[in-house]
């Protein structure tokens, strides 16, 4: 691995600090429980990765698990199945211990009581570098304070709070004041779409590039209002997407469904943002490096500008404003 050129990011909470050697993390819900992506992406390039959502008690999958393809995206409805926190440690604890980068456990933030209990369990485990709390879309000021506060009172681990896109501007401040060490903006927004197989309207999480514009806006708004470190998340599909979040005020980013559709981009994004070597190594196969992967679709998009149409992309001369 090449030397890391960008300074590390420190997120301190309680008595412990989460150190990210790269601003790019794998997001909850897309990355799996136990490093399922270890064979597909260069895990050690990432700053950290977040487990799929875990509850205190096991959750069965939704009886109607559904995947609905949308334009440039997908709606996913799984019911957030997970083995519960105790069994998750038995099933995945060794893999978490062996992870080359910090592991953050995502807790489903149902109630203050449940979160307290989970925080106490996690407290004893050195293989866990931080907690991320997921909030329900409908959680408002008081509930957010109670849930985050419950975790804060029980753990010295850094606490990240992932905010629903819809309520992020409203609950960012209470989450921060109640003890969040960083805010993740945002969780995948929820939507409704018709399932082509059953003909029924289904609710679920939305993934894909179209999520980015809204999450980036929320990141910009909240970064200007709340003094917490912000982690941008939503629709990142290229190094440029990730850099947009940093420019809007985020200290780091989480990437989600791009891992499903173009896992090779994960390393590219992490290398780019981490200041790592981007040059194509001599003798490498096109699979391993492609300039083109940084700009999917850019050539098609450029076609809405007819004047520049049939020429290669051009750089304006220096003396033009």
């Amino acid at each position: 691995m090449e030397p890391n050129k960008r300074p590390s990011i420190h997120i301190s909470g309680g008595k412990q600090t989460l150190t990210l050697h790269n601003p790019v993390m794998g997001a909850s819900g897309a990355f799996g429980f136990g490093g399922e992506y270890a064979k597909l992406v260069e895990l050690d390039l990432l700053g950290a990765w977040v487990t799929n959502p875990i509850s205190l008690n096991p959750r069965r999958p939704a009886s109607g698990t559904r995947i609905i393809p949308l334009d440039s995206g997908v709606l996913v409805h799984t019911g957030l199945p997970n083995p519960g926190l105790y069994k998750a440690f038995r099933q995945y604890g060794t893999r978490w211990k062996n992870s080359p980068v910090p592991v953050i456990v995502h807790l489903i933030g149902t109630s203050p009581e449940e979160i307290s209990e989970c925080a106490i369990i996690l407290e004893g485990h050195e293989e866990i570098a931080a907690i991320e709390i997921g909030l329900n879309d409908s959680a408002a000021y008081r509930e957010v304070r109670a849930i985050v506060g419950a975790a804060r009172s029980k753990t010295q681990l850094p606490i990240l709070v992932q905010l629903p896109l819809a309520s992020a501007p409203l609950v960012a401040l209470p989450a921060f004041e109640a003890g969040a060490d960083a805010l993740v903006i945002a969780a995948p927004p929820r939507g409704t779409a018709r399932d082509p197989l059953t003909g029924r309207l289904i609710g679920g999480r939305l993934y894909g590039p179209p999520v980015k514009a809204q999450a980036l806006r929320a990141t910009g708004l909240i970064a200007s209002q709340v003094k917490a470190p912000i982690i941008g998340c939503g629709g990142i599909h290229s190094p440029d997407d990730a850099r947009d979040y940093l420019e809007a005020g985020a200290a780091a980013v989480q990437i989600d469904s791009v891992m499903w559709v173009r896992p090779a981009l994960v390393s590219l994004i992490a290398r780019d943002l981490g200041g790592l070597e981007m040059t194509r190594p001599a003798g490498s196969l096109p699979d391993e490096w492609s300039h083109n992967t940084t700009l999917p679709n850019a050539s098609t998009r450029a076609s809405i500008f007819p004047s520049v149409m049939p020429l290669p992309p051009f750089t304006p001369p220096d003396d033009l404003p």
Binding site: L40, T65, I67, D71, T198, W260, V261, P286, D287, N297
Partner: protein, 248 residues
Amino acid sequence: MHEAQAIIERVRRVSPTLQRLDVAVDRRQAEIAPGQLLLARTTDSYDPYLRIPWVPVAREQGTVVIERPAYQSYTPGQIVSLLGPVGKAIPLPETIRALLLIAYQAAPTALLMLANAALARGGGVALALIGSAAYYPVETLPTEIEVIRAHDDLEWAERDRMLGWAEQVVAVAPAGFDLPAYTRLMDHIQRLRVEPADGYAYGLFHPPMPCGVGACQACLIHLRGGHEAAACTDGPAFDLKGVRLDGA
């Protein structure tokens, strides 16, 4: 299981509705076994967003043969991105003598590599094309395969004889209709053989697979005993004896 680029080397129209692509794949993906999938991206656009499952109908010397609808457009020389092989091989006995394949309201595409493997081992292969599958262009199939076509559902004439003849049955039905289809298949089997042997009847499960690596939890199949398995890592073929066919 990895992501690699592949090249479409040849595009052949094999029937009015189907075309087949010879795709040069990398060494590890060329080892793909019957039942396993490749998840393909053919454009730079994110529409469609999820990768398209490609189930080869044959493989040979670094090339896999992919069957696609004729109305789609592919070009020789086109470079595609493939993720795979996804899933496990369909278990096939070393000395299979009689293999019954059933395509129920679905193309038999995902069964053809298995058919070829059984033929190569000297086994007899019958393929029942039920419902809309009866419209599948049989001229594309190896002539050694005995084809049975039936328009009306699982009540086909030769059914009980074929189920008795077969050492192994592998069925495919479309996502969303797989459980009811396999339920009825198992009902018929149970009426013939009090309790079917382990590994006698397999069903293929092809839910959409966003990740293909067991991470997104979107392709879970409910198994007997109250646990779940991911179609993408433990399937797509499951011994139907072990599946909760009521889906609960």
